[in-house]
């Protein structure tokens, strides 16, 4: 049976892992390669690296980091942050990334999803969505949660999957950093509306939250950062707990 995935996320700034709360108050959380190795050994199913200061000058540094990671770890990983062209994707996949995630660039030019899927295959194209619940709906934000769009998260997910996105990485800005649980309702809505895996992100604080997002939220994978970085939840303990609750988990 296909297992639910536990995915630690590493936000990268200038080659270091950092963690903010609600997209702000950045703190240093260690060397990404060391952390990646540790997570892989502890049982992480996959890793996500988001370069939060990605600029053109930084792209080369990021590609070098990606190669270091690819050499060292034996589980799949996704790289995202500021990717906006076929050249960016080619560079990162060639450097050793298994998948790339796109966000703002896809909102500005949805055809980019199709171009990337046609060239590299849907399986390596993850669409990241930052969404915020306001005025009774889940709105899509771009530029790392700074700019509101006219798109609704549910509609955007469906459109992106039609264009060729192979996975949806859904971050609730209301929940991110609060440790009060994932956004169950929008995760469930999107997971039921699209036929690709949905990775839930934002709000993990307790092991119960993961159980909730896999059962009530129908997520295929759950992503978290600070609870893992600061050792508040041990990956192995979490996986044993979920397995004891009859959730299919790789142990």
């Amino acid at each position: 049976m296909l297992a639910k995935r536990i995915i630690p996320c590493l936000d990268i700034k200038d080659g270091r892992t950092v963690k903010g709360i609600n997209f702000e108050n950045i703190r240093d959380a260690g060397d990404p390669v060391e952390l990646a190795i540790r997570y892989a050994q502890e049982g992480a199913d996959e890793l996500v690296f988001l370069d939060i200061t990605a600029t053109n000058e930084k792209r080369r540094t990021l590609a070098e980091l990606v190669t270091k990671i690819a050499k060292q770890i034996n589980i799949p990983f996704t790289v995202g942050g500021g990717i906006n062209s076929i050249e960016d994707v080619t560079t990162l996949l060639n450097a050793g990334a298994d998948k790339i995630s796109i966000n703002s660039a896809a909102i500005k030019d949805p055809e980019l999803i199709k171009k990337l899927a046609d060239q590299f295959g849907s399986q390596c194209i993850v669409l990241a969505i930052d969404t915020k619940f306001e005025n009774n709906d889940w709105w899509v934000y771009l530029n790392g949660g700074r700019v509101k769009t006219e798109l609704l998260a549910l509609n955007w997910s469906k459109q992106a999957v039609k264009l060729g996105a192979g996975e949806i990485l859904l971050t609730s800005m209301n929940n991110d950093g609060t440790k009060s649980g994932f956004a169950i309702d929008i995760t469930k809505q999107i997971s039921e509306a699209v036929n690709v895996p949905v990775i839930a992100s934002g709000g993990a604080g307790k092991m119960e939250h993961f159980k909730e997002v896999f059962t009530a939220g129908k997520a295929d994978a759950a992503l978290a950062a600070s609870v893992f970085h600061f050792d508040e939840i041990k990956i192995l303990e979490l996986k044993k707990y979920l397995s004891s609750k009859s959730i299919p988990i790789r142990l």
């Binding site: 296909l2 892989a40 589980i75 050793g96 590299f120 390596c124 996975e167 690709v196 295929d220």
Partner: protein
Amino acid sequence: MTIVILKYNAGNIRSVSFALERIGIEPIITDDPDQIISADKVIFPGVGEASSAMNYLREKKLNEVIRQLKQPVLGICLGMQLMCSSSEEGNTTCLGIFDQKIKLFNKPQLKVPQIGWNTIFDLKTDLFKGIKEQEYQYFVHSYYAELGENTIAKTNYELDYSSALHKNNFYGVQFHPEKSSTAGQTLLENFIKL
């Protein structure tokens, strides 16, 4: 011992190379027929689309080279699928080493591609030595090989299908041992020892 990774227009070559380096092997990545034929072991990787990959192999005459290999050959993911008789992906005639046909996962409620860790069972041959029944491996695929005489491992995704195939010196795995943590590493080590 020389281990060749067959170079063609498909992804994951680098990941396979890194995985071999982690177990102390420096593979040669090449599309040169002589180097391929004289290698001790050949790995045929692959992430991509079946018809364009087959066209590329035919253009470079690598299809004939692969079929005639006598040493142990391991196809990974698309590599394994291309070793089968045909694929529904782009209505492709493949290499015909294994008898299986490649079909699309097409149950309505099923998420496609299957992405993630799934279990393998009914394991046969030394390729799985030291790997336990129901071990998890990492899969990313939309198409699958049917069950048949060549099946040496099965996986379930709404239906049972072949997650590994074997015939004579040819082996194929649908999952990605290069990304499957220690269980995948064991499989690569087993292949090297064949």
